[in-house]
């Protein structure tokens, strides 16, 4: 089965909310695909991500309509603990994900596997793999609280990787990090994407996300406003700007320039593409 996530007409309202936070959303994610969800704050991006691992509706309650099927399980009918083996969730604030029970980085990564009752031998192997993958080798014995923001977030990713889920979901993983932390985390995400991990990620750093996103979903006010190939969605400059989302600078620049010149061509979405296109255009 190549479709890992199928969302059909998902509609949801929190128990304390009057309005529906998600309205009739439908999309699919294939195995190995990276879907980037973009949109202004309050559009429902976090809620959408939480509906992939069962937090919505099982943790929050509320009113739920439509269907979400992840790795063969229908989310509405599957408990969060089962889904947690299929969906790994990385949250925005690295410190908020530290369990508080682990003295060391090693123990923290092992904690999830411990929660799920994995046998000891498997735990040792998986923890070592995960820590190496995110580049925290050598820091196994440090206290999680002593790590930098970027290191802490990579630790969170490691705890998710150790469980070997089918999908990794990330909710603005770099929002609280400094530039170095952002670079460290995005490098890990890029590597995961290149190696064929299925990822759903929300990010405001669109200029970085275009490097590894296959598909993009633009959300505004609970609705899926645009969905398709990442390169195509990110080039919908007017659509994005009217909803308070900045496309990559080079894309916006191309949009304005081409309009002024009456050029009809596809916009560059990365720096490298822009350099090619503009140097040719401007006669370098």
């Amino acid at each position: 089965m190549s479709t890992v996530i199928r969302v059909e007409n998902l509609t949801y309202a929190y128990p304390t909310g009057r309005d529906f936070v998600l309205k009739n959303i439908s999309f699919e994610v294939q195995r190995g695909e990276v879907l980037a969800v973009i949109g202004p704050n309050g559009a429902g991006k976090s809620t959408l991500l939480k509906s992939l691992n069962g937090l919505v509706p099982h943790f929050y309650g509320g009113r739920y309509g439509g269907r979400v099927i992840v790795a063969g399980h229908e989310v509405l009918k599957t408990p969060i603990s089962t889904l947690s083996t299929k969906v790994g969730f990385v949250f925005q604030d690295p410190e908020d994900q530290i369990s508080g029970l682990a003295l060391t980085v090693w123990e923290e990564v092992a904690f999830g596997l411990m929660m799920l009752g994995y046998p000891r031998e498997i735990i040792e192997e998986r923890v070592r793999e995960a820590i190496d993958y995110v580049g925290l080798k050598g820091l196994e014995n440090r206290s999680p609280f002593e790590l930098s923001g970027g290191e802490m977030q990579r630790l969170a990713i490691a705890t998710v990787l150790a469980v070997k889920p089918e999908v990794i979901v990330m909710d603005e993983p770099t929002a609280q990090l400094d530039p170095l932390g952002k670079f460290e985390v995005l490098s890990v995400v890029k590597r995961l994407a290149e190696e064929g991990t299925t990822i759903v990620i929300t990010e405001h750093e669109i200029e970085d996300v275009v490097y590894f996103a296959d598909k993009m979903l633009l959300l505004d006010n609970g609705r899926a406003v645009a969905y398709g190939d990442a390169r195509e969605v990110v080039a919908m400059v007017n659509e994005l700007k009217s909803r308070g989302v900045d496309p990559p600078s080079v894309t916006e620049l191309a949009h304005l320039l081409y309009r002024k010149l009456g050029v009809n061509a596809s916009y560059p979405v990365t720096l490298e593409e822009a350099v090619e296109v503009f140097s040719r255009l401007l006669g370098g």
């Binding site: 691992n53 937090l55 943790f59 408990p79 969060i80 603990s81 089962t82 947690s84 083996t85 969906v87 969730f89 949250f91 604030d93 410190e95 908020d96 994900q97 369990s99 508080g100 029970l101 682990a102 003295l103 123990e107 092992a110 904690f111 999830g112 596997l113 411990m114 929660m115 799920l116 009752g117 994995y118 046998p119 000891r120 735990i123 206290s143 609280f145 705890t159 469980v163």
Partner: protein
């Protein structure tokens, strides 16, 4: 870092003596046992012996300072306060036996044994409880502590809540500091009257409570997402089993119990100080 160490803001240096290596259950048993002894016997000197033993263990385990500090803050003033009030003729109902006289401002006052005994014994009983409990906390690391409590069949979620809370107290302290700074940046002054001080207090406590509750909720969500509620047998990464050291310690407790039982039967409930019976003594 042990659970208690993070609680007391790392005042103890993490050491690896036999006290740390003792199984958590054994130390917990010691705490219960010592407390029971202190209450079965009505004897301040016996209490002092138990406290002395505990402090010696603490000193060896390098956690003496926080325990001694806690006792100094709670118990010592209590004794200094209680003993004079109770042993002098100020109304303690069971005062009968005069053991001496004391001169204050030129007048002679009798000193009663009953009040003296009570004034010493009760604070020292509490001191036994506190010192043995702290010894347990400060020398047991939290992962092992959790494993210990799980073996004792306590519900995992409850264990987690308690231990994680201890871990996060230093974080809370740091948050409080930042909040204090943020409010000072808006003109909060510390050189003010009592009414303003109450307002100042609210200006720190309210944001602190709200952010803490929020953080707790987010953490609960993150843990749920990691399978916290999975109805499976949790794997304990630490093996928790008794070693020879634990058996030796337990044997020591058994011998001491037998000895003290004999003492009780032979010499009564106040073998060393010979305090007379006082109701609730």
């Amino acid at each position: 870092m042990s659970a208690g160490v993070s609680l007391l803001k790392r005042t103890a240096i993490e050491a690896n003596t036999f006290v740390q290596r003792l199984d958590g259950r054994v130390k917990f048993l010691f705490f219960i046992w010592a407390t029971l002894l202190a209450y079965i016997f009505y004897d301040p000197v016996l209490n002092l012996i138990i406290i002395g033993f505990t402090l010696a263990l603490a000193a060896h385990a390098k956690v003496l300072k926080p325990i001694a500090l806690t006792l100094a803050i709670i118990i010592v003033p209590w004794i200094l306060f209680a003993v004079p009030i109770l042993s002098l003729p100020l109304g303690f109902p069971w005062n009968k036996t005069v053991i001496g006289y004391i001169e204050i401002f030129g007048r002679k006052y009798p000193v009663y044994l009953e009040g003296l005994g009570w004034g010493f014994t009760w604070p020292l009983r509490i001191a036994v409880t506190i010192s043995t409990a702290l010894l347990f906390f400060l020398t047991t690391n939290q992962a092992k502590l959790a494993a210990t409590l799980v073996k004792m069949r306590l519900p995992f979620k409850a264990i987690y809540v308690v231990i994680a809370a201890l871990q996060f107290i230093p974080l809370l302290a740091r948050e409080a500091e930042v909040i204090m700074q943020a409010q000072r940046a808006r003109g909060l002054r510390t050189d003010v009257d009592i009414l303003q001080r109450i307002k100042n207090y609210l200006a720190v406590v309210i944001p602190l409570t709200l952010t803490s509750l929020n953080k707790v909720q987010i953490r609960a969500i993150a843990l749920e997402s990691r399978g916290f509620s999975a109805p499976v047998r949790k794997t304990l990464v630490y093996e928790v089993s008794f070693t020879r050291l634990d058996h030796a310690f337990l044997a020591g407790i058994a011998v001491a119990t037998a000895f003290l039982a004999w003492i009780y039967v032979t010499y009564g409930y106040s073998p060393i100080s010979h305090l007379p019976w006082v109701w609730a003594g």
